[in-house]
């Protein structure tokens, strides 16, 4: 390791965390949260490309109604692996493990996370899980869908279910430990003066996400263990032949997986709040409502899982309760959408890449969320359950929402992370292209779904062909929209213009020091005496003055 590690030099630009060591070892054995964030950035990008390649195969196959590109079995493996990889190896860690890891200590004035070594260990656990998943792919794939429903997964599938389950099981522990780390950090490591209601909403969102990670993931873990045991040693907990109940598996799975969808959106909401407020030079409207609604989403989110099982044979009474609660979980989401819009009011708005992504997020999340309500009205769900309507719903939120937020956040904090500026024009272009490509890809799926096209279909009736073709064409546009930031950011990390310390003149604590930050973030203890988001409409080009405290 190099000798630049000691804290005294930290204000000088040469002593950044990036220059604190150049060897592979200094990266792989680091416990600096900022370097661990990089490990995740690289890993999840690889997995995004793997998942995207599978999406590409799916879209090629679906361009025509006949199953003529790959065999039915290969297709089934494609969407299963696509879902597994995208959910557990890309989207769940996407914001928390990258931006969250990098920014949480900086935003709360801490020198690192509460448990830096545990943080590194989490990445190794993630990698171990990833190895199992890559093995699954190489050995021939898994064909259960990302939901692993029994008894298909436990007794009937002939694919590599155990390897896939083991990968997901292991990566779950990485999630749990990351969540644990964030919870302890936010509780115990805040700088003096940084009260809960002075925290940036990004920190709130990661905190709530962590609660879900810690409380929901173990239920998934035990469920997967039971399926693994059934396939390996024959412990038949879900075996209908013994009187076991396949619906029990679904209850356990969705008890995790519905909260998990909020793991996949709350961090995006946090990012959006930061971006919109900074680029419109206005404090986030209704800050406390925003913070409380994050918590409300996290908690009510634990009580709605049965809306995935309206036609499974669960009792009508249970369906009614789950349906009502699903509508209620939308109320805090509505609060957020309205407050984001209101933040723009009387702002001084500029349209850097981050802002475009954030506005795209608001629109696409709203549409995705509202179609969630359509699904929550039981009578309609009976018709559209397991059709492309559902596929469109969750891609609107997860791809249109969360991936947009992830890319927006990446652009926004890129100067902080790398000390370099990306190309603004290319950035804006990529935001616009992916917005167009996205709608082109997934809007037709709403229509196909309502017209009755089931999902997970290798070949399909001809009446859906034109809609699916539009969708496939849209995916090409979308692919360009995703390739551009990859090139833009990747190129700028090495050759971009040097960034000033605070290029957006943003108010957050993370922007108060040098960019990129020194190894231990802050050389002197930080004291916070300021409300969050102390923006003024006329301060774009003047350095921020601490607000009327």
């Amino acid at each position: 390791m190099s000798d630049a590690g000691s804290g005294t030099l930290s204000r000088s630009s040469r002593a950044s965390y990036l220059t604190a060591g150049y060897t592979l070892r200094s990266w792989l054995l680091t416990s600096d949260h900022k370097r661990v964030a990089w490990l995740y950035i690289l890993s999840i990008t690889i997995f995004f490309l793997v998942g995207a390649a599978m999406a590409a195969v799916i879209r090629v196959e679906l361009a025509t109604a006949e199953g003529d590109t790959v065999t039915a079995d290969s297709y089934n493996k494609m969407f299963s692996l696509h879902g597994i990889v995208m959910v557990w190896f890309f989207l769940i860690p996407a914001i928390p493990a990258t931006l969250g890891n990098f920014l949480i200590p900086l935003m709360i004035g801490a020198r690192d996370l509460a448990f830096p070594k545990l943080n590194l260990l989490s990445w190794y656990i993630y990698t171990l899980g990833a190895i199992f998943t890559v093995y699954t792919v190489i050995a021939g794939g898994v064909d259960t869908g990302w939901t692993f429903y029994t008894p298909f997964s436990s007794m009937f599938s002939n694919s590599h279910v155990v390897a896939a389950l083991t990968g997901v099981f292991i990566v779950g522990f990485s999630s749990i430990l990351t969540g644990l780390n964030f919870i302890a950090t936010v509780h115990k490591m805040r700088a003096p003066g940084l009260t809960w209601f002075r925290l940036p909403l990004f920190v709130w969102s990661i905190y709530a996400t962590s609660l879900i990670l810690v409380l929901a993931t173990p239920v998934l873990a035990i469920t997967l263990v039971l399926v693994i045991l059934e396939r390996t040693v024959g412990i038949g907990i879900f075996d209908p032949a013994l009187g076991g109940d396949p619906l029990l598996f679904q209850h356990l799975f969705w008890f995790y997986s519905h909260p998990a969808v909020y793991i996949m959106i709350l961090p995006g909401m946090g990012v959006t709040s930061e971006l919109i407020s900074c680029y419109s030079r206005r404090p986030v409207a209704g800050y406390r409502f925003m913070a409380y609604s994050i918590l409300a989403i996290a908690f009510i989110g634990f009580l709605v899982w049965g809306h995935h099982m309206f036609v499974s044979g669960q009792s009508a009474y249970a369906s009614l309760v789950f349906g009502l609660l699903s509508f209620m979980v939308a109320v805090p989401s509505a609060i957020k959408v309205f407050n984001w819009t209101a933040t723009l009011y009387k702002g001084s708005i500029s349209f850097e890449t981050g802002m475009l992504y954030a506005l795209g997020f608001v629109g696409l999340f709203t549409l995705g969320g509202l179609t969630g309500l359509v699904l929550a009205s039981i009578a309609v769900d009976v018709h559209v359950h397991d059709t492309y309507f559902v596929v469109a719903h969750f891609h609107y939120i997860m791809v249109g929402g969360m991936v947009m937020a992830y890319l927006g956040g990446m652009h926004f904090w890129w100067p902080k992370i790398t000390g370099r500026m990306y190309n603004e024009t290319v950035g804006q272009l990529s935001a616009i292209i992916s917005f167009i490509g996205f709608n082109l890809t997934f809007f037709p799926q709403f229509v196909a779904g309502y017209l009755g096209m089931p999902r997970r279909y290798h070949s399909y009736p001809p009446e859906y062909e034109s809609l699916q073709l539009v969708s496939s064409v849209g995916a090409v546009v979308l692919a360009i929209g995703y390739l551009l930031p990859l090139l833009n950011l990747g190129w700028s990390a090495f050759a971009g213009r040097k960034a000033p310390g605070n290029p957006w003149n943003a108010s957050g604590l993370e922007w108060s020091g040098a960019s990129p930050p020194p190894p231990h973030n802050f050389s002197e203890p930080v004291v916070v005496a300021q409300e969050p988001y102390s923006y003024h409409t006329d301060d774009r080009d003047n350095p921020l003055v601490p607000d009327r405290a």
């Binding site: 089934n76 009614l320 009502l324 509508f327 509505a334 018709h383 089931p454």
Partner: protein, 312 residues
């Protein structure tokens, strides 16, 4: 008629389909308005308050709290309204209906089998009369499938190890798609069929042409003897077992003091997991049949036991 064209797309073949569509259209319209409203507001703000325009921002930027509460309360009320509407349509579709035609459905990788009370069987095809209440009782021989009739906007999972049911009342004659909506393995996307809704006269004709020598119940009776059920369940057998006559639909007193109505689910459990509910006054000696009977055979046995009540 058999070569009539398959009707696909947005066709509504039942009243329920129309109810679902209205609810959906209202929700879609509302969603459209909300999304458009948000988009327009964002656009207006983006133009009026863009950085290069500098004169429009006087006045306090704070929002009245009342506004915040309004946009909490209004959506909440709308949400409750929409939920109630959806719940009512759903409950209606679940309500018991009199005098229904009883059909039995078994899903199996990768086909649908339908059993008519008269004994007729169909594979991936289903013939039903128009304007008649129909009750479909579903089960599966292997993994979970889902019977999906898009033209009727109904869908119901067929789950191994249990019965599920769905009501149907077709309003328009014609041929419509049957699909499998729950992923069930390799040929999930090939597990489809056609439902043909017929005028009552055509239906009777079809029944005649496809008549089986025996009814479903008679097939069950044969099985009842062949599986040696009759060895215990006849008066005069050495083993004391309850008489099955008049059992279906009756209230049964169980050993643990509770009671249950003998419906299909109860009969099914009594045969494959006799341990679950033991009849008061009897020993738990009946063997479990879960490895020996297919779902179709179970349907036959149950039809037979049901016939012992209906005959009375």
């Amino acid at each position: 008629m058999a070569n009539a064209e398959l009707q696909t797309g947005a066709v509504q073949a039942s009243e329920f389909a129309a109810d679902v569509d209205s609810l959906f259209l209202v929700m879609a319209g509302l969603s459209g308005i909300v999304v458009a409203g948000i988009a327009v507001l964002i656009l207006i703000f983006s133009i009026r308050y863009r950085r290069s325009r500098s004169s429009m921002r006087e006045g306090p930027p704070d929002f009245p709290l009342a506004l915040e509460y309004t946009w909490i309360a209004v959506p909440t009320l709308i949400f409750i309204g929409l939920f109630v509407w959806g719940a009512r349509v759903f409950l209606q579709s679940q309500a018991e209906r009199n005098d229904a035609l009883e059909l039995r459905v078994v899903g199996q990788q990768w086909m649908w089998m339908f059993y008519h009370p008269g004994g007729a069987r169909e594979l991936n095809e289903l013939h039903i009369p128009v304007d008649r209440n129909i009750r479909l009782l579903l089960s599966s021989d292997d993994v979970i499938h889902s019977l999906y009739l898009p033209a009727f906007r109904i869908k119901q999972d067929a789950v191994p190890g249990r019965y599920t049911q769905v009501w149907l009342n077709a309003e328009r004659t014609g041929r419509y798609r049957i699909m499998c909506a729950e992923y069930c393995g390799t040929e999930h996307s090939q597990m489809y069929g056609v439902v043909e809704v017929m005028e009552p006269e055509d239906y009777s004709l079809w029944l005649e042409l496809n008549a089986y020598d025996t009814t479903l119940a008679a097939q069950g009776e044969r099985l009842f003897n062949a599986m040696a059920c009759s060895g215990c369940h006849t008066s005069g057998s050495t083993i004391q077992a309850p008489s099955l006559e008049g059992l279906y639909g009756r209230v049964v007193n169980l050993q643990d003091g509770s009671t249950v109505v003998a419906d299909e689910v109860y009969l099914r459990d009594s045969i494959i997991v006799p341990d679950r509910d033991i009849v008061a006054g009897f020993d738990n000696v009946m063997p479990a049949y879960n490895d020996q009977l297919s779902e179709a055979q179970l349907f036959m046995l149950i039809a037979y036991i049901q016939s012992l009540t209906l005959a009375q």
